[in-house]
């Protein structure tokens, strides 16, 4: 009980401090353009990493499994600008189906 609440409290406080650091310390000042460009590119860098690790790794091992099917469907859907919900549901369904078959 106390151990779990401690983790919940500390993880929450840490996250809130991390999120507030920029807006509360920096205020409304404009950033230099070079820094803005790097910050803009943080999104594709992290998205690339999240997509890759959540598709091709499991417990610190590189692996190719049913999630590849979901990835291909999602990539095709995103390229064709399909509705988000359709892409997400189709990717999950394809992965679940492949997993059930293999």
């Amino acid at each position: 009980m106390t151990r779990e609440w401690m983790v919940v409290g500390l993880a929450g406080a840490l996250t809130m401090a991390i999120k507030a650091a920029g807006p509360c310390a920096l205020g409304s000042r404009e950033l230099p353009p070079a820094l803005s460009r790097i910050l803009r590119l943080l999104a594709p860098a992290l998205f690339g990493a999240l997509i890759a690790t959540q598709t091709f790794t499991r417990e610190q091992r590189l692996t190719v499994d049913a999630r590849l099917g979901g990835f291909v469907i999602a990539a095709t859907g995103a390229y064709l600008r399909a509705p988000t919900l359709l892409i997400v549901v189709a990717a999950a369904a394809a992965t679940a189906a492949l997993r059930a078959l293999t």
Partner: protein
């Protein structure tokens, strides 16, 4: 406000409407996926020994699925509280950068900026992005409030309903999230520097995965933005 925004050069692939309603509408298609994640988190957290109230408080304060799953899975596997908190902190460290990026868009006093900053998660941040390094506070708040309500509410449902969800993998839920990130990344992927950066980030994360604990490859991959910024 409006005259200031009309000076912002907007990219065709990024949104133009900057009301909080537009932000809320933009994340509605994600609500079902977010709710399924919240229900899964509630169920897995209680299975790992958290009280239902603790699971709900964690969704309201940590408010980031990947960090919450990491912390709870470490506790469930018998890991120490310090390791669980460190994993959550590392997975959320990227919000220092996203917070910095949205900071110029936030108005009002310290307390107001603190609260709005808490609504920054991957999805609300992506939805608030107007292109060219600019963000809409209204879209961030609209999207963030919808995500917060769905995330916390579905966690409560999962924590109480517990075992009904079963194995999230059987539903293909583990593929729903990369699919979601792919959709969110697609405006960036339509630009050459965004594509280079994403590919490099993916390569760095995959190369590091066998050698360092979970969450750290994603953090190191953030360095891809430094290389991408040098490309033309």
């Amino acid at each position: 406000m409006l005259s200031q925004q009309s000076n912002v050069p907007l990219d065709d692939d990024f949104p133009r409407e900057t009301s909080w309603r537009a932000g809320a509408r933009a994340v509605l298609p994600l609500a079902a996926a977010i709710a399924v994640l919240g229900v899964s988190f509630g169920a897995l957290a209680t299975a790992a020994g958290l009280a239902p109230a603790a699971a709900v408080v964690m969704s309201a304060t940590t408010f980031a699925g990947s960090a919450q799953f990491a912390a709870v899975s470490i506790l469930g596997a018998g890991g120490g509280p310090a390791a669980a908190v460190a994993a959550a902190g590392l997975l959320n460290a990227r919000y220092a950068a996203t917070g910095l990026a949205v900071a110029p868009a936030l108005r009002g006093g310290l307390w107001r900026r603190f609260l709005v900053a808490q609504l920054t998660v991957d999805e609300s941040w992506a939805v608030a992005y107007l292109g060219d390094g600019h963000f809409s506070e209204q879209r961030l708040v609209g999207a963030g409030l919808v995500l917060f309500a769905v995330h916390v509410g579905s966690t409560a449902v999962g924590a109480i309903a517990g075992d009904l969800v079963g194995d999230p993998r059987a539903w293909g839920l583990d593929a729903a999230f990369p699919a979601l990130f792919l959709v969110l990344a697609s405006p960036h992927l339509r630009r050459p520097d965004g594509r280079i950066t994403a590919a490099l980030g993916a390569a760095i994360a995959l190369a590091m995965t066998p050698f360092v604990p979970a969450g750290i490859p994603t953090l190191v991959a953030a360095a891809a933005s430094l290389v991408g910024a040098r490309s033309r």
